[in-house]
């Protein structure tokens, strides 16, 4: 590809059966407490 470079190696929809354990951090328990951002949390199931 010359015009496009994909930045991720995986898709959100890959391997969906193995996901959804719910062990990840609750978003508001991090540094925000006011502005919910889920996408910048870590996955605990790796």
């Amino acid at each position: 590809m010359i015009h496009i470079k994909t930045l991720n190696k995986t898709k959100l929809t890959d391997n969906m059966n193995a996901k959804g354990c719910g062990e990840c951090q609750t978003s508001c328990q991090s540094a925000c407490k006011t502005s919910c951002t889920v996408g910048n949390q870590k996955c605990e199931n790796k």
Binding site: L7, N8, K11, G22, Q29, T34, C36, G39, N40, C43
Partner: protein, 447 residues
């Protein structure tokens, strides 16, 4: 659904449903704008601009992505596979504070009620509830919050010991965190927090003038000179454990990137500065009229971040620029949102449960207590049903799997409806996502 944006000299395409992010060039950007690549006359115009060969090459790359499910992918509409169980708790150690910050959502620590402290007995019962109601979840989170939690330091210590004593029997792991304004941070407390807290949030708004305008003592004086050395002392002993120096920006410091710079100069290397949440009529509130200025400010901060990255000693983390394009939360987590009321509850000194700390003091939102557990299923069910794919405004928004629908409390407080997100929050969140992706691409290019 896709989202196109450009920042500085770079162009990006986000494919919402797969989460793929493509760095592109201008010809791709033009072709994808309004799906121009589909329409002959528009393609002709693009060919005139970039040349026939280049344009056709770019169209074939677009088609490759489409055929390989990397662009315009369908929404899988994930159902809630995650069986929710309460596993995180915001424990309000005090409804009292040794500061009187003007913008405090907790009414200067009192939450509109009597000033009070959480007792060890009440905390103990809250922990018992947590270990018994967290189902199969191993990792439990307890944030010691307030008011100012360190005013009730001895109880924190007892509760941490009690929590640890439950771990083996219930096969759980407690992750303790705390949020403090730094006034009471002496060496003893610093050592204790560094040993026992997985994360510590340190409140400071940045420049002295900015901090002192909002964050004042009981006597109305600025708090900067009281806290700054305490916070620096804390961080100097923190080693590699997590912490965030966290500030709030308001309409009084729309140039908040200067506050981030100041915090970096103070030696903090993990920084979070966030928009104030306030009623629109407050003078310090952020309203739609501020949005354009604030978006530009995030761009200034982005530039500072990228420039700082060039020098290992100057690098820092900015909480909202953290983004892991491959290792972040799964799509299920991104669909159910923050978990308020379902995975996360706030506990008051008298033992009441609320869906989260932002609702504390609004008694209609009491969902239970330490003695009876969750008793108000009506509110919990209402919140549970508010997933990002159910909210009319969110389901067609490109950012839905980053913000997960935003803060329920903000939605309710601004619009009286969990289903209608807080617009200023949404717009700023979208800008932060764009900046984060730009940073990722810029920094990856350099490595």
């Amino acid at each position: 659904m896709i989202h196109l944006f450009s920042l500085d000299d770079m162009y990006f395409v986000i494919d919402t449903n797969s989460g793929l992010v493509h760095a592109a060039d201008e010809v791709i950007y033009d072709l994808l704008t309004d799906e121009n690549f589909k329409y002959g006359d528009k393609v002709e115009l693009i060919k005139q601009k970039f040349g026939k060969e280049t344009t056709e090459e770019a169209i074939s790359e677009i088609n490759y992505l489409i055929v390989n499910d990397m662009l315009y992918t369908e929404d899988v509409n994930p159902q809630n596979k995650i069986k929710t169980a309460v596993k995180a708790m915001c424990l309000n150690m005090t409804h009292d504070c040794n500061l009187r910050c003007e913008y405090c959502f907790a009414s200067q620590g009192s939450y509109n009620g009597k000033r009070s402290f959480l007792s060890f007995e009440t905390g103990k019962r809250a922990f018992d509830f947590l270990v018994k109601n967290s189902g199969t979840r191993r990792n439990l989170e307890v944030d010691f919050f307030g008011g100012e939690p360190l005013m009730n330091f001895e109880t924190i210590k007892k509760l941490v010991s009690y929590g640890r004593s439950l771990e083996k029997e219930y096969k759980k792991h407690f992750r303790f965190t705390t949020t403090t304004n730094g006034v009471l941070l002496d060496d003893e407390k610093i050592d204790y927090l560094n040993e026992n807290m997985a994360n510590v949030v340190l409140s400071i708004d940045g420049r002295k003038s900015v901090n002192d305008r909002m964050r004042r003592t009981v006597n109305g004086k600025g708090s900067y000179d009281i806290i700054v050395d305490n916070l620096r002392n804390f961080v100097s002993k923190r080693m590699d454990k997590d912490y965030f120096a966290r500030g709030t920006f308001t309409s009084y410091n729309l140039d908040f990137s200067q506050d981030v710079k100041h915090m970096r100069e103070l030696g903090f290397d993990k920084i979070s500065v966030e928009p104030v949440v306030a009623k629109p009529e407050e003078k310090y509130a952020l309203n739609e009229e501020h949005l354009e200025v604030l978006k530009k400010e995030y761009e200034k901060l982005t530039k500072f971040y990228v420039d700082s990255y060039k020098d290992k000693d100057k690098r820092f983390q900015f909480f909202h620029f953290n983004i892991d394009l491959d290792g972040g939360p799964c799509i299920y987590k991104r669909s159910i949102g923050c978990g308020a009321g379902t995975e996360y509850i706030a506990v008051t000194p008298n033992g009441d449960f609320y869906p989260c700390h932002q609702f504390v003091g609004q008694e209609d939102f009491i969902i239970g207590n330490v003695d009876d557990g969750i008793t108000n299923d009506k509110i919990v069910d209402k919140i549970r049903k508010v997933s990002v794919n159910e909210k009319p405004v969110c389901k067609d928004c490109w950012a839905k799997y980053y913000c997960s629908g935003g803060c329920h409390a903000n939605a309710y407080n601004f619009n009286g409806d969990f289903n209608i997100p807080y617009k200023v929050g949404c717009e700023l969140e979208k800008k932060r996502i764009e900046c984060s992706i730009y940073i990722k691409a810029k920094i990856n290019n350099k490595e």
